[in-house]
Amino acid sequence: MDLKYTPEEEAFRARVRAFFEAELPADIRDRMRLGRRIRKDDMVRWQHILFRHGWGAVMWPTRFGGTGWSVIQQHIFEEERADIGAPPQNAFSLKMLAPVLMTFANSAQQEYFLPRILAGEDWWCQGYSEPGSGSDLASLRTSAVRRGDHYLVNGQKTWNTFGQHADWIFCLVRTGTEGRPQQGISFVLIDMKSPGITLKPITMLDGEHEINEIWFDDVQVPVENLVGDENKGWTYAKFLLTHERTNNAGIGACKRALKRLKEIAAEQMAYGRPLIEDSRFRDRIAQVELELMALEITNLRVLTATANESRALGPEVSVLKIKGSEIQQTLAELQMQALGPDALPYLREALEIDWVADPEFAEHYRPYAPPLSGQYFNLRKTTIYAGSTEIQKNIIAQLILGL
């Protein structure tokens, strides 16, 4: 039992850090650090840089062009990424779709799609939720009816993230109505340029366009875009969700946010002294730091145990998802609260990097202030998406505790 990194792992960390220092474009870094809007182009450019260095997919095995790194190495990479302020990669393609393709797709699909994901050529989004199917995902109704060499897809998806940027969408569709709702679901890949697809933005509570509704009206999808077997999609969907939830622990991003919170609390003034010297506020930072310390170790315990036993991640990721999402929310809440009255202004234009504040206003309204309230509002989503906290507790109760 030991919590220290080996000298090899420390050397690895230094190597990752040096690469980030040298290769992360300064404009992207500035936007990330100040919480300004990140563009699709930022993420694509970064993916290209990582790809050229052979680090396009650090969580993939080498046979698909990944790095084949250990879970500890991946953890270090993610920590350093968040700390320096590099953008996240597209999780929908790299961390969610890719494991499904590697495990369940045929070789033609693997050979076509995986290299394009790795090289950052295709932007993927997810078509899971529907207006009537949120937590009860298996009740979904978007239908795919076989017509010769293609499926005809009709229905509506919602809460789709960044579909406005997407080249492709992976969808759960209903191909059968027999038996339990879970039994008639299939997993298909749909070209977003297909005729019959309409996308309508949904404005989030922070005023930003991040999610969409998508309508499918007689959209033709070639049968070769079916992943695995028809009507087995629920199995693949659950497999994917397990991967999605691990990512939701977000340890690296939380550590970065905690560091930021301390910086903000050291700079904001309260009662004539730095806010961090007010023990009432500082104790709240301490409390969330303890949660994060515990979660970091729990996360590593879960990841190393599954790696050692060569098994897939199981329902224990629900613990990581519940805690990780709560910690993200608490950190965002404290960052906002640290601003006090400066949390009130809503300045959409201030989310662009070239915004210049009124000089007198800028004397107290710091450059990090504009996005913080919006982030707090936005991150209320984390305990709702990818299976709400209540669904995660159902999973723990049923699959781990046997209730």
């Binding site: 500890i72 023990s279 500082r282 930072i285 170790i297 190393t304 519940i322 805690k323 159902n394 109760a397």
Partner: protein, 378 residues
């Protein structure tokens, strides 16, 4: 980064589990808690035979060269079995203090005897109005002849009624709450002027008020450097905290098992009560708390052996503050979900709950440690 126990550690764990199953059932434990001694002298001898009492000591002093992770493993089972013997006081805290701070001569005199089960030692480091502050020491030691003369009072000295020796923090300089000016002395129970007022604790252990009235000790009773005793005591208490955290995790795990079993077997309205979502989600919360608490106990154990006082203190306080809250959640909810069965003396549930509560209040409570951790942030 390694979260596995070694084969030796797993063997030790199995041996202890077998011992608890065979010799330390719940009924036996209740008898022991009610007995005059308050624990089992026979069990203490068995611990010596198993090597538990010399586990964390260096080989040159008859020890097994174990570390704080070995102690964690033992303490987790101390929790599960609700063991009453003074392992924490004698081996972890006092043995640890002697190993970390005493002269080789004193180590030679004490550690092999502790390891053999021949003597027991208690740490007398808290005073009446000091709450959990180790620097608030009024008990005084003045030079007298070639040695020292001690006068003062120590409160809730754990396992004191059975102790043969006390390690006492006393002021040899400075004012009431000064961090400097504290020294540590080894005082024999039989020394003239030593009296105790003994009582059981809420969880069935034993403790006492310790009164020292003009107690004279030799010069070699001073442990470690004079005036620098606070760091010595703090280190011993940090070791104790890491051990208590592991004990709490053992209890939390056992309580969760008991509660889960109750949810699956207890029927109301014609169905197991575990089929109700209100209870399922609370049980899930308790499961999460247990996993997180275990992670913090691992952290506390790994850093308990560190020579960096700040690093050790941060880990110990962080873990104690976190696990105290997890223990409260699991303890209270385990009782709640057992219904009336949770509030009777006849079931082990209430005993686990009481022990968890006393752990939270020992060696610094949640507020104390959260403040200590928080003060290190800025």
């Amino acid at each position: 980064m390694d979260f596995n126990y070694s084969n030796e550690q797993l063997a030790l764990q199995e041996t202890l589990q077998r011992f608890i199953g065979r010799d330390y059932g719940f009924e036996r434990r209740r008898e022991l808690a009610r007995s005059t001694l308050g624990f089992s002298a026979a069990a203490w001898a068995q611990y010596a035979d198993l090597g538990l009492l010399s586990l964390p000591f260096p080989g040159e002093f008859g020890g097994l060269d174990g570390n704080a992770v070995d102690v964690m493993l033992v303490m987790e089972l101390v929790g599960r079995g609700l063991l009453l013997e003074p392992f924490l006081s004698t081996v972890v805290m006092c043995g640890g203090l002697i190993r970390d701070a005493a002269s080789d001569e004193l180590k030679r005199a004490m550690l092999p005897r502790i390891g053999a089960g021949a003597i027991k030692v208690s740490l007398a480091c808290y005073e009446g109005s000091a709450r959990y502050e180790l620097s608030r020491v009024a008990c005084a030691a003045v030079r007298s002849g070639g040695g020292w003369r001690l006068s003062g009072q120590k409160t809730v000295v754990l396992d004191a009624p059975s102790a043969d020796y006390f390690l006492v923090s006393a002021r040899t300089g400075g004012a009431a709450a000064d961090p400097s000016g504290i020294s540590v002395f080894l005082v024999g129970r039989e020394a003239p002027g030593v009296t105790t007022f003994a009582y059981p604790t809420q969880s069935g252990a034993r403790a006492a008020e310790l009164r020292l009235e003009n107690v004279t000790v030799d010069a070699d009773a001073l442990v470690g450097a004079p005036e620098e005793g606070l760091a010595i005591v703090e280190r011993a208490v940090d070791r104790g905290i890491a051990a208590l955290c592991a004990e709490a995790v053992g209890i939390i795990t056992a309580l969760n098992e008991a509660t889960l079993n109750h949810l699956k077997t207890r029927k109301q309205f014609g169905v197991p009560i575990g089929s109700f979502q209100a209870l399922q989600h609370r049980m899930a919360d308790m499961f999460i708390a247990a996993e997180q608490a275990r992670s913090m106990a691992v952290m506390a154990a790994v850093y308990a052996d560190s020579d960096d006082a700040a690093e050790r203190r941060r880990a110990a306080s962080g873990a104690k503050a976190y696990i105290g809250q997890a223990a409260r959640l699991v303890g209270q909810q385990a009782v709640q979900m057992h219904g009336a069965m949770g509030v009777v003396d006849d079931l082990i549930v209430s005993h686990y709950f009481k022990r968890l509560t006393m752990i939270e209040l020992s060696l610094g409570d949640v507020d104390f440690h959260l403040a200590r951790f928080s003060d290190m942030l800025a």
